[in-house]
């Protein structure tokens, strides 16, 4: 809810009309990707490039779907509706329950809770944001990076991820003066190579690591992440 508030406020103070955060919060229903979209478009990047970056962030929903036991979302139209409310929270809570009825109850309650809170917060935030005109004086431009930073801090506690994130950030900063707006963030993806040689090095990754003059065995163990991809690997 609080994140929704800041999302709505940030979107309108960045120059978007109210319907943009409102529609996105309902139709996309995945916070980080919406922030990324707004951020790239505000910086002057192409909305389509912003959508692709957002999709990359949302690709985690594919393994979420694989991890969910069948029957949690149901069948037919239930499944179509239940699919839309799949998010970090609903999947975590569903996987944490022991039997199917409880999994289903947790999933739907949490999914619908987010479906109400996120757009509700976004619209409220947008209304509040519309009332503010001089965003610089109140430091509101610092809110956007701070929100995203707060969202990724749990992931950054893993050292491998932290290193890759810092490398990506450096690439983006170095690229900013030279390439069109919106592109630096995408170039940062090159840093994913740092993760490719991380745990359980496959033949390909080992080769890549050897080329880079690094030892693949130096990789850290996977973080005990809070994400369901790691904690509830069912299949």
């Amino acid at each position: 809810m609080a994140i929704g508030l800041s999302y709505g406020a940030i979107a309108v103070t960045s120059g978007f009309p109210l319907w943009v955060p409102a529609a996105q919060s309902v139709l996309v229903l995945a916070g980080a990707s919406e922030f990324l979209f707004i951020g790239i478009v505000t910086a002057g990047g192409s909305p389509l490039a912003a959508a692709l970056a957002g999709l990359l962030v949302n690709a985690r929903h594919l393994p979420y779907g694989l991890a969910l036991p069948p029957g949690v979302t149901g069948r037919g139209w239930r499944r179509l509706a239940g699919t839309h409310v799949m998010n970090d929270e609903s999947v975590v809570f569903a996987l944490a329950q022991d039997d199917l009825p409880r999994k289903r109850a947790a999933y739907w309650a949490c999914g619908f809770g987010v479906l109400i809170c996120w757009p509700g917060g976004a619209v409220l935030g947008a209304l509040i944001g519309s009332a503010v005109h001089d965003t610089g004086t109140f430091g509101l431009d610092a809110m956007f990076p701070a929100v995203i930073l707060a969202l990724i801090v749990p992931d950054l506690r893993d050292r491998m991820t932290l290193r890759a994130a810092l490398a990506g950030a450096a690439v983006a900063l170095i690229a900013t003066p030279f390439v069109p707006a919106g592109l630096p963030v995408l170039l940062a993806l090159a840093a994913v190579l740092l993760l490719a040689r991380a745990p359980a090095a496959t033949a390909g990754a080992a080769d890549a690591a050897r080329e880079a003059g690094q030892h693949p065995a130096a990789a850290s163990s996977p973080a005990a992440g809070s994400r369901p991809v790691q904690s509830g690997r069912a299949p």
Partner: protein, 107 residues
């Protein structure tokens, strides 16, 4: 705002693609197993994108430097987030530090 048709197209792409991701995992479940390594890479890629967004929005404006006030606020927020402060505290502190810095004449 920029060209709103393009923005709508971007939003529609993001919404439709996200739904497709949500659905395809469930549909594929019976047929494939997704390697945990790939899941980890995807997650890492998302964090990298967002970290780059933090860096560029905190430190740059257009193609140049944003000034010191904004990154100072973001840094303050980041330290609080690392220390597990509540989300609202993080965000309000970031804005407040930046606002006070500007009040004191920091660019």
């Amino acid at each position: 705002m920029k060209d709103s048709t393009l923005v709508i197209a971007g939003m529609a792409t993001l919404a439709a693609g996200t739904y497709a991701f949500r659905l395809s995992g469930q549909v594929l479940r019976a047929r494939v197993s997704f390697p945990p390594r790939a899941a980890r890479l995807l997650e890492g890629a998302a964090v990298i994108l967002l970290a780059a967004l933090v860096a560029t929005t905190a430190l740059t404006q257009g193609h140049g430097f944003s000034g010191f006030a904004r990154p100072a606020g973001v840094l303050a927020g980041g330290v609080l987030a690392w220390r597990k402060a509540p989300f609202l505290v993080v965000v309000i502190t970031a804005a407040a530090v930046t606002a006070v810095a500007r009040l004191l004449g920091v660019p």
